[in-house]
Assembly symmetry: C2
Homo-oligomer: 341 residues x 2
């Protein structure tokens, strides 16, 4: 049998209340007593039963998720996963609150962060948009000892405990190799369509893509990046113009969330059907494009996994427990039409 607080108490010759004080690092215990209890804990190899503690405490984890509003299908996917979990959240004493903010708007993000009541919220996950205001808002939470996790889009150097998402430079490398290998030795140009070059993940993917194309596929050449603002209409327009103007485009890398616009343009013109296309994020549209042979590969990060991982990470920091690294590592998933989940 595992030792319990009772065992520790009698081993240390103190009461349960005192063991509890030491266990939870509460003030007001003589240091000699603390030492006695800690020695007993070590001797017995005591590990506290978190679910019993949570039961006694009637602990509820109040987690806030801040994600961009708008039509971005991937963000809606994250929201959908959150909603699913909310339905069963009472089961695990978890209260999830979703705050939606305008996309690409760091001021709105900062004020959402400022609106959080640090006496209520026990952990925060956010899709980051960088700015000084965001940084300061995070610093406030940090000072209140509230665990913070960035989701999908990171903010290195800020007060966050973890980043839950993929390595976007490596994702760019991956896209480049797929395109380079699928196109083969023939020469040609590559069209790049991003949402905005102000967003860190798009910049990183593009950078990674460029590196591998330059270094390993000298037959290919990248055109300047088109910015479609993750909007189908704008994306379609700029892409159509680009393809009409630039001959010899053999491949296309869709960096952001503008897949619907890309699909419309490509499926509208028979001559474009041979273009090798690699896009990001598995959605209804990109799945269909993959099945129809319009897209050749889709690079994905699993929204469900990311949400569950963010929750596990926040709870682990709240409880002071360990995590399993492999479980929290978000993979750069490659999908062809054959291995769709």
């Amino acid at each position: 049998m595992r030792p319990t607080v009772h065992d520790v108490a009698s081993e240390a010759g103190v009461s349960l209340a005192t063991v509890d004080r030491v266990l939870n690092k509460r003030a007001g215990v003589r240091s000699a007593t603390v030492a006695r209890v800690e020695a007993a804990i070590a001797r017995l190899g005591f590990v506290r039963d978190i679910s019993a503690a949570n039961l006694a405490k009637q602990r509820v984890y109040h987690l806030a998720f801040i994600i961009p509003e708008g039509p971005n299908a991937f963000m809606r996917g994250l929201e959908h996963e959150l909603e699913q979990l909310k339905l069963r959240s009472a089961l695990d004493r978890t209260e999830i609150r979703i705050l939606k903010v305008p996309p690409f708007d760091s001021a709105a993000l900062a004020s959402a962060l400022e609106s959080l009541d640090t006496s209520v919220v026990s952990g925060v996950a956010l899709v980051a948009t960088e700015s000084a205001a965001t940084r300061e808002a995070l610093a406030r939470l940090w000072q209140a000892n509230i665990p913070i996790v960035t989701l999908v889009s990171d903010m290195p150097g800020s007060r966050r405990d973890h980043y839950v998402g993929i390595d976007n430079v490596a994702a760019g490398h991956t896209a480049a190799r797929l395109i380079g290998r699928f196109v083969g030795p023939r020469p040609g140009r590559i069209a790049l369509v991003a949402g905005s070059m102000l967003v860190r993940d798009h910049v990183e993917r593009r950078m990674g893509f460029d590196q591998v194309i330059r270094a390993e596929f000298p037959n290919l050449h990248c055109l300047p990046v088109l910015e479609g603002r993750d909007d189908a209409a704008i994306t379609g327009k700029v892409l159509a113009e680009c393809l009409a103007a630039a001959p010899g485009v053999v491949a296309l890398y869709s960096i952001g969330a503008g897949n619907r616009g890309v699909i419309e343009v490509l499926s509208g013109t028979p001559a474009y059907r041979d273009i090798v296309v690699v896009a990001h994020e598995l959605t209804d549209h990109s799945r269909k494009a993959l099945r129809d042979g319009l897209f050749d590969a889709v690079i994905n990060q699993d929204a469900g996994h990311e949400i569950r991982s963010a929750i596990r990470l926040l709870k682990a920091r709240i409880d002071g427990t360990d995590i399993i690294d492999g479980q929290e590592n978000i993979r750069i998933e490659i999908y062809l039409r054959d291995n769709l989940p």
Copy 2:
């Protein structure tokens, strides 16, 4: 506040013990009383707190994992994940027992299953090898109402609750498309190296591979399957003979666990370096081959995910709780040198 057993008891006008009897479907309650309690549960929307129940019960989950012994790196990976979890298993009231059996030996598997004490074990996961004896052994467990999960290798039609692993036909499709696209339009032959054509997963991968090559890549032609018994020396020998005898091999599909033998042969002869290679399972050897450019892609299933999923599925059946489908879906992962985890 969520309703508790106390609320249900007073709502139904019975005692806690009676609520508990109804909740756990224990016999010896008048059906009128059962109805009253069930009505109260429905009216209140009561959902029982499993961790409180487990605390009161002092429940321990006794899970048995049966996996093949021997040098197969993937199986050793599964075992490693299990050992990692055992270190922290006391934390979640889970006792994991690993039984190792000779590979490809259904008689040994069956007797391992027969050795399990149904009064102790609460759930079983096994890497299946098909046979009548295995089937009967599983039927015994099924009769004792013990949840069963097949791992990595399935046994359709047997008494198992779930299969935790990939769709191997789809994995074969995926390998075929990668090879077809990477090779491009030039004609050539494909060497196939499996462990044994008596193992269901290898047969299925091969079948899926063949389907896609025939239907979509008429420039390519599959050679007869070589059987290396998942042994480096045997694999190396048969592959070397095959490549020496058959000219025009442009690609190789390593279906089973014989990657070390494949690597030795390919890296030993400069002329073989251009062969497009797709292999299964990420191990130290296959990672290195990918980085060195010897392998072009590796198809993987995540051993850690599979172990965690098997445990979640068994516990859910034991507790009678729901699962999240997306979380238990094992992906056909594609790795290039760029997206290695």
